[in-house]
């Protein structure tokens, strides 16, 4: 008999902090890298990976005690997990819940992958700027040189390595 259906992954609730839910499966560690959390900061953190999800098939969850991501972090998370939801917890209750949203313009967050793009010229007062071409399979286009950034390029750019 398959008992797996009855099995629950036990992760305790957090008192105050953030639960990032509906992260694309396998991307929880990328989320932590984006948040620049290495584990030695002292936050209580729970990471749940590859658990069943009715809407996504499989998903990851990250629970962060006493940690609240800023809007720049959320923009980055939206690029690698467009369905992620943010739950702000106070006294064990969800007081605010919202979905991350990929902006149509992404300014300053990412570097263009074309070495001869003007945004890569050193010392120039210029901010990178990308237009969102596709949400489902992330595709961005540099507003200056027209280069395309795929999902893999974005992950590489955000965490400095391929996944």
């Amino acid at each position: 008999m398959d008992t797996r259906k009855d099995e629950k992954l036990l992760v305790s609730k957090i008192e105050n902090g953030t639960v990032i839910d509906h992260i694309n499966s396998g991307r929880a560690l990328v989320v932590l890298k984006i948040l620049n959390i290495k584990g030695n900061e002292g936050y209580r953190i729970a990471i749940v990976m590859n658990v069943p999800s009715t809407t996504m098939g499989k998903k990851d969850i990250v629970k962060l005690e006493d940690y609240y991501p800023n809007s720049e972090d959320l923009e980055k998370i939206s690029l690698i997990s467009p369905n992620a939801t943010i739950n702000i917890i106070k006294d064990y209750e969800v007081i605010k819940k919202y979905k991350v949203e990929i902006p149509n313009k992404i300014k300053g967050t990412l570097k263009c992958n074309n070495p001869t793009c003007i945004t890569r010229k050193s010392n120039e007062p210029i901010t990178s700027s990308f237009t969102l071409l596709s949400k489902d399979k992330i595709k961005l286009q540099c507003d200056y040189c027209g280069s395309i950034l795929t999902e893999d390029d974005v992950i590489k750019e955000l965490i400095g390595e391929s996944q």
Partner: protein, 312 residues
């Protein structure tokens, strides 16, 4: 009369203009051509100074802009190459543009970095005209290529274009494809070695804008073309010179190839300079139209400067 589609506008990307704007430019260029022929050009820009800021080498674009400006009575100041400028001392591009902008009425800019003209247009108060930025755009060359086509065939719609050679790094090719998206060409045949195929983002653009494109590797594919547009392999844009060595000399258009495969009425264009991809034995054939193309650069750029600077 001032035309609001052009007056005081930056010319960074040909797509910043409509087909109507481009057709107005062509009729204005026809007027300039007639005036040049009759030696009756009016000095309508005599109170203007145009800055020529060419961070990369150029012969035709720079000289045709300077000639165009001077024919209309404007003066020009500027430089070619970073040597001898404060850029060589480490001045930022942004500062250089800010300074030139405070001296002149318009800046014609060429730079090896893609997006340089767009960046400059955000800094300068006066119009910035893109004379080529890296492999991205060369809008006035595309306007010239379309104008030459119209001069030769009377129309652009319904024609078949074969674009040959370095389709990957050529800014004239990408700008021409952007420009053709405003018209209704029958087909664009892209002929190049595997390593020099058109960049994905331009291909996507062409498909999204309803252009019928076909990729080929054999030169025989020119057989249906009305315009055979040949480009040079641009050594200076290759990140790896070994890659350049692999494709160097990989195609060559000559009289025999044209006589064997091309339509009798086909015309060969080339943005020039040429190296070895277009044989001099084509020069004295009926196919040759690249010298006409180069010469039309002056009236076309006179029309453009006149429209941008309100020279009527």
């Amino acid at each position: 009369m001032i035309n609001m589609g052009w007056y005081n506008k930056d010319v960074v990307n040909i797509l910043d203009f409509s087909r109507e704007d481009i057709e107005l430019l062509f009729s204005k260029a026809d007027e300039m051509r007639a005036q040049l022929k009759d030696k009756s050009v009016k000095k309508t820009l005599s109170n203007k100074i145009i800055g020529i800021a060419f961070f990369e080498p150029s012969t035709r674009t720079r000289m045709s802009f300077e000639t165009a400006a001077k024919r209309l009575g404007a003066d020009t100041v500027g430089f070619t190459g970073e040597e001898g400028t404060s850029v060589a001392k480490g001045e930022t591009f942004a500062d250089t543009i800010k300074m030139i902008d405070s001296y002149v009425d318009a800046i014609v800019l060429r730079h090896k970095f893609e997006g340089a003209a767009l960046f400059a247009s955000g800094i300068a108060q006066n119009p910035v005209i893109n004379g080529g930025d890296g492999k991205s755009h060369h809008p006035t060359q595309a306007m010239l290529d379309l104008y030459t086509t119209k001069t030769l065939f009377g129309e652009i719609d319904g024609l078949t274009f074969a674009l040959i050679g370095d389709l990957k790094y050529s800014r004239t090719v990408s700008s021409l494809i952007y420009g053709l998206s405003m018209f209704k060409p029958k087909e664009i045949i892209l002929i190049s070695p595997q390593q020099l195929k058109l960049r994905e983002e331009i291909k996507l653009f062409a498909v999204d804008h309803g252009l019928k494109i076909r990729e080929e590797e054999n030169i025989e594919a020119i057989s249906e073309a009305d315009i055979i547009y040949v480009t040079r392999i641009q050594k200076e844009r290759f990140p790896d010179l070994q890659e350049y060595e692999k494709v160097k000399g990989s195609y060559k258009i000559n009289k025999k190839i044209l006589e064997t495969h091309a339509k009798k009425t086909a015309k060969v264009l080339h943005p020039l300079p040429r190296v070895d991809e277009l044989s001099p034995d084509v020069d004295n054939t009926n196919y040759q139209a690249y010298f006409l193309q180069a010469s039309l650069g002056v009236p076309l750029r006179m029309a453009l400067l006149s429209l941008v600077l309100g020279g009527d």
